[in-house]
Amino acid sequence: MLNRSWGVTLIKLLTYLATILLVILVFCLAGFIVIQGIGFLNKELFKESVPLIITTLMVVGLALLIALPLGIFSAIYLQIYTNNGRFVKAMRFSIDSLNGIPSIIFGLFALSFFIYYIGLNRSILTASLIMSIVVLPLIIKNTEEAIKTIKVDQIQGSLALGASKFTTINRVIIPYCIDGIINGVILAIGKIVGETAAIMFVIGTASVIPHSFMDQGSTLATKLYLIIQEPTYSSNGIGSAYGIALILLLIVVLLNLLVKLVNYLFKKRG
Amino acid sequence: MNNIFEIINLNLWYGSKQALKNISINIDDNCVVALIGPSGCGKSTFLRCLNRMNDLIANCRIEGSILFNNENVNSDSYNEIELRKKVGMVFQRPNPFPMSIYENVIYGPKCQGLTNKKELDSIVENSLKKAALWDDVKDRLHSSALGLSGGQQQRLCIARAIAMEPDVLLMDEPTSALDPIATTKIEELINELKKDYTIIIVTHSMQQAARISDYTAFFLMGELIEYDKTDVIFANPKNSKTEDYITGRFG
């Protein structure tokens, strides 16, 4: 069939159609959020979303504070200090598997470990702790990728000059990996901002500006979910939902643009 | 003997760089023509003009006529797919598809719409026999082609090209990735094949050209310096540049 011209035309048509369908779907989705949400970008939404944004930032901040060093150090060890032994393969497998765990399972784990076993309260702190575990594989993978792109020669070169592994790492590798690490950070931020299932059991439902990490709170995503389920949860009703959804969409687009920007800047630097 | 290829004033540019300069050459059928010359002289580029494989390269501009059986293949109305059915190609690195040996050989015919199993089976047997591979693989036609050795893979690629029943076989350094024994087998094969096909072969090895070809063309920096019977080129070249290359003064 593919050798007949009508067959070729048919396949070509289907191929283009699929792509057009894809683009249309995304535009409908984004367009829906924008069109519906733009009407609700008002003072009430602003008042309502400030505590949400602050809470979200707190979770992002603390989760990254934990996951970044942990992730970078792990990546350094995996790439520089070991050869591919069975040990490394097992560790890699463990970290890769972490990536594939559904977020609801993380939510269940957070509840049973942090709340029941350790005895923490429902709080922003607990949410940050579970999110740091969720994004850890992301940080490790991106840092590893960044380290890999450094030519082996440069590492060899530095070592041959008599520098120790440690100095090599600090002087040669890390500076060149910054863009990969930043990439991982941006992706992690995106993931944390949009997460609901993993933290909804452990963050509580308060909607005021939190005073400390021990307070309960709602992130943009968790509040959005609550409002959709129960529109009376917000003074604006379902309108807030559209507004918050729009805010989240803008954050996603901004983060994606940031990734492009970082890549561009670092390409220029070489 | 008639001209299967008549090339008139062929010029080729990659962007602004001219890779082929005014090449004119007539190639007889049922013989082996070797294209020799130092790296970058344009011999592979020239070869790829003959089956319009250079179409795949962006920024590639061609001027001049390539007459295949008296039709200009460079004209807009000529279908390059039809051309490639009659002018087959074997590449430097053996590149059998990640499929079975059988599926590799019938790939071309199947793309033309052939589905009759009996016909396909006989094509497979004939092509593999002509490529001197049948005895090696007749018991494992449906095993993966990637399980063959480098030399066998290259013969499979030749069988695959032959299955299309082309008039011409273009070979771009077909033995440079193979060990000496495999190379010898392929050279013997070429000797057999020239009874039925015209073979144009690019080679880096002058010894190979001297061994297997009837005619040799010497390229240098995009120009065709000399084209003559192989004996003449190697024993009595008319151009001093040819002589320099043959005697190893450069290259």
Binding site: T15, V26, L108, F166, G194, L224 | N95, P98, C111
Partner: protein
Amino acid sequence: MKKQVFFETLYKLSIIFASLLLLLIIIFIFLEGFPALREYGFIKMIFNGEWQPTAKNPSFGLLYMILSTVVSTILSLLISIPIGILSSVCLVRMVNAKIKNIIMFIVEILAGIPSVIVGFFVLKTVVSFLYDHFYYMVGVSGNSMLAAIFVLALMSLPTIITVCVNSLEAVDPMYTEASLGLGANKIQTIYKVELRAARSGIFAAIVLGAGRVIGETMAVMLVSGNAINLPKNLLEPTRTLTSNIATEMSYASGLHQNALYASGIILFIMIMIINIVLLVLLNKGGVDNA
């Protein structure tokens, strides 16, 4: 020297800690789920359809929810795989680099949109549409298996596309050359040779997509309705394993809660099965892979 030893140990401890997390999670999920498994029985949980966790004699049969998860996964993949593969072919082989980059950016945006929002979108569009047009049918409220399938297809598309595009771009150009040299046209080359050469990557894309879909909670929860019985048709509401956990966790206690953890274990096992299937498929096609 001491500084180096310190940092080296620090790095080592980090990686060991990171790799133990998986174990920690498995252990704690299992610890909480075990009481229900012991009380009610693992086999019974899988094959029994009675989910009555708050009854006097509670039963924790997950059959219908497992089936719902499986069916919604398969049907949504039947949508997203063709669209994903075809789009990838188009992006890699049929449009220029500029258009490809623009569309890939759009795909990345889709990938980053939180699942709550995708669910919200489908809730307000597809679900309303279905309700408006099929309200007269008994049991139809718009929230349905169909809506769930739609939302899951949307969520798995970016994963499938990114991996397929990478796999297609990694195909050795020598295969393309060989195919064209034999007189095949571009479409034949793409579909008979290049997709074949990219086969293992495409399988990986499908498995990753399936994993994403099986574990999806929020989006599905918003649009699939809440019925526990097996729907007779796609327009009826249903409940997947994930939305079951999320919905009932807020008020579950005691053995009920343990049962929800147990269903988490089953979800885990399902995902592992898919990954093992991928490994087997990859090894089977191993000889054929360049």
